[in-house]
């Protein structure tokens, strides 16, 4: 604990490089603590994002030793290699500066996957009754806690190979809506998530599921979408 930590942090844009900073170690220190220490005490020009610091907002995700992680809840003791740690912006997203990425494409893909709820009821109608233990509700529950951090998107090889691939988060969102009994956008949504830019491009490698900080399983959601599109295709409804 007395040994300092050497944090190699990405500086600049896509053609930038790593700069190494010496940071004092503390018990239960997180990677976000390290970045914050550098920005407050060593170099105030360091750009990075965070908000809640408690794993709710999904804004502090970075690449730590090559692995995408939510830095506010990643302990240095768990990820440091000896007394070094390498912190970079999330992969597969354009770098704005230092540790800050441009997340527009990531969220635009949620829209392209028809990730918005389409309902028919108005405020004058009764609330929909959804049985909490129904298979659809259970399936939606399994994916609904996504915080939109982009860890799965950075972890996915297919995102790196196919620029138009919607990615695990957007497809996971679509799957929760496919299972939402109140939603009526199903047919258009299934068409939006089918094909080589959608669920059928997934190779089921499972990196998204392995690194999701919320322990969600986008791989299972994508498999669900493949089943749902198959059923729709057989019925001629795709």
């Amino acid at each position: 604990m007395n040994e300092p930590l050497y944090a190699a942090i990405w500086r600049g844009k896509a053609n930038g490089s790593f700069s190494t900073y010496e940071v004092p170690r503390h018990e239960s220190q997180t990677v976000l603590d390290v970045v914050t220490y550098v920005q407050r005490h060593l170099d105030p020009t360091l750009a990075y994002r965070y908000a809640c610091r408690v794993g709710m907002c999904g804004s502090c995700a970075m690449s730590v030793n090559g692995t995408p992680r939510w830095t506010c809840r990643t302990h240095v003791a768990k990820v440091a290699r000896g007394n070094t740690v390498r912190i970079a912006p999330l992969a597969h997203l354009p770098i704005i500066r230092d540790l800050v990425t441009d997340m527009r494409e990531f969220f635009d893909k949620w829209t392209r996957a028809k990730g918005d709820f389409v309902g028919t009821r108005t405020r004058r109608d009764d609330l929909a009754r959804v049985a909490p233990n129904s298979p659809e509700r259970t399936a939606a529950d399994a994916g609904v806690e996504c915080i939109g951090c982009g860890v799965c998107y950075a972890a996915c090889d297919v995102v790196g190979w196919r620029a138009d691939f919607l990615g695990p988060a957007a497809l996971n969102r679509a799957w929760t809506l496919v299972n939402d009994a109140r939603d009526v956008g199903g047919r258009i949504r299934l068409r939006a998530v089918a094909g080589d830019a959608g669920c059928h491009a997934c190779h089921t490698q499972g990196s998204c599921t392995q690194w999701c900080p919320k322990q969600l399983a986008p791989t299972a959601a994508i498999a669900g979408l493949k089943r749902a599109t198959a059923k729709a295709a057989v019925r001629g409804e795709l």
Binding site: V158, W161, R162, R191, A194, G195, D196, A197, G198, H200, A201, K226, T229, A230, A233, L238
Partner: protein
Amino acid sequence: MINVVTQAKLWYWQRLSAMVLALCVVSHLAMIVYASRGGLTAAEILARTRGNAPFAAFYSVFVAACAIHVPIGLKSIAVEWLRWRERSASIAAAIIALALLVMGFRAVYAIFV
């Protein structure tokens, strides 16, 4: 550009053909190992396969499954790993599909007739 419905259908065709191939490959290997235990000449092989309809039917299914499965996979590899454009990858895949069909059925014909 192939439309999304066709893309989805191709994926399911590849899945189904993979299931067929799994059975075909296992049967094919088992048959080779069993038949060639004591050595086997070309003439002996032809004596067993000529006019053997179930044999020809089995290998026809095998050839068809290959011609479906392989090009779809190669197209994905070309796009994702070799950075080919969708159109050129699709054309190349179609040519490979045709080549597999022609060569495969030619071989089936050769041992049957």
